[in-house]
Symmetry: C2
Subunit: 306 residues, 2 copies
């Protein structure tokens, strides 16, 4: 571990003493901490790291745009390179959302499974689900009283992303909104043409078993509110149930895409936000939890304020 | 602790050695373990503990029925008694779903906030969020390498329900599908007339801060797939967006309600199921997690097989 910060060390104290009405006034809610973060604590997301998916309009004719941020090196491995090639080839245009499984995933790609892939896609080995080398400063969280991640020895944040870690290395975590690569049985790891996003409780058992390549940063409600599929694993049984993908492009190849920024996970405001997520002391709460599941500390992302 | 079972003690062994194709054939998936559980391992849920909510049919005229199981003593406190009175008074008939917040909750009740409550409802104190006395045999889980719950000193199962525990006592956990009592600022704990269910990643920071009174056991997709509200906190902004509740009745006061049963959390099959949820060794998986978040071990519930 490069750095071990006991963020929740004082949690037990709060758990023992319900906070009085007078005290809570000095404790802002997580959303208030984010809203008051300094401009310099926000980091721009490069348009080349955005992927913009336009679904067919809904039944009332309203547009449905989903914006995805691609994961950086070293976690991107060969999959994100493949995804960039697929987007450049407009490969997803005319494909569809084919699976919506409640409390699990929404999945999209070529329902016929016959559409030819572009040439030159990489094949990535499953050992690459885990990155042995620490990429730089990773902020490690731990809880009070030995409270920890149920799925890993440690967890933390790196350039705006949530990671888990063991003595073997690091890996991104299957939290709500994360985007992964569908695959067949191992050792296949998937090309990147078949993608899914998490729309339920974090299926962390998929960590290190499936590649994660990004996260939805805007418009996930256009996927999470879709009718659930009635076939096995939530696949739609009828062709007309599928949701057409009109286009899927990289952010730098899309017109009229908004700019986005994330709250630096190295910033003071992020530290205060994470602490407040783990120890709610704003007026609604009587008992701060004294810890938080890593997937309950989502990294704040917003449209860039110009 | 009455019983401390190190269910995942052997997890580290599995984590170190990806399982070969030959070995995995001997390891069924969690769903296969549940499917092959013995008839005597299933426990009937009393119709008096069911609550049946019929929403207005969807845009295609299909019925939308949601079935809720009420939580037993000692966790039911006064809230479940209130809910029985409200259902008997048909209080929710003609009310509506008013709030759908993505990755959080669906909430229902009287949108006008003016409908008179039946007489004789109990007022419950917030100390009752935590039950100091252990009700009987509680099966406590722990993970490998000290992996544990991020929100509590321990967690486990009691007569089919998921609990967390500390030296202060026990409390039910805010997992997907759990039903809770909306309230205003503490020390108010809510009457039970305003209810919500979790439709996203478990908001465990609400544990011990809000009363949990049950869980959705069938039909949650009729709530989780609703359009998200565009107002603050996901409230619907227009009256026509609200989803009418045609009726809400106890199971023993409803015609044509199915009988349900849950897999005994004291059964051998449940122990095998929980172990398999924490250590997936079925063919799709290469790396068993070595642990599981309590909300990722949902207690199996099904329509009763006659």
């Amino acid at each position: 571990m490069k750095r071990y910060l006991s963020l929740f060390a004082s949690a037990a104290m709060y758990a023992a003493f319900p906070v009085s009405a007078q005290e809570v006034k000095t404790h802002p809610a997580p959303s208030e901490i984010v809203a008051s973060a300094k401009a310099g604590e926000w980091v721009a997301i490069a348009p080349t790291d955005l992927m913009v998916m336009d679904l067919a309009p809904d039944s009332k004719g309203r547009p449905r745009r989903v914006v995805i941020q691609l994961i950086p090196e070293p976690f991107s491995q060969g999959w994100v390179g493949n995804i960039r090639k697929l987007a450049a080839a407009k490969w997803w245009d005319g494909t569809s959302i084919n699976r919506v499984q409640d409390n699990y995933v929404v999945q999209w790609g070529d329902a016929t499974e016959k559409k030819a892939l572009p040439e030159g896609l990489a094949t990535v080995e499953k050992k690459n689900y885990i990155t042995p080398n620490w990429p730089g400063k990773v902020w490690i969280l731990t809880g009070a009283d030995g409270r920890r991640d149920a799925y890993a020895a440690a967890h933390g944040f790196y350039v705006g992303w949530t990671l888990a870690a063991s003595s073997e290395g690091l890996w991104p975590t299957h939290c709500y909104g994360m985007v992964g690569v569908g695959r067949n049985l191992s050792p296949d790891t998937g090309s990147g043409a078949e993608l899914y996003t998490v729309i339920g409780h974090a299926p962390r058992h998929l960590d290190r078993n499936i590649a994660l390549v990004g996260r939805v940063i805007e418009g996930i409600e256009h996927m999470s509110s879709l009718p659930r599929g009635t076939g096995a694993l939530g696949f739609y049984e009828k062709e007309e149930e599928r949701v057409p993908i009109l286009s899927l492009r990289l952010g730098n190849e899309t017109k009229e895409v908004h700019a986005f920024e994330y709250l630096s996970t190295d910033s003071d405001s992020f530290a205060a936000y994470a602490d407040a997520r783990a120890n709610r002391r704003d007026p609604f709460f009587s008992v701060p939890a004294g810890g938080a599941d890593i997937c309950n500390i989502p990294v704040p992302v917003r449209r860039k304020i110009r």
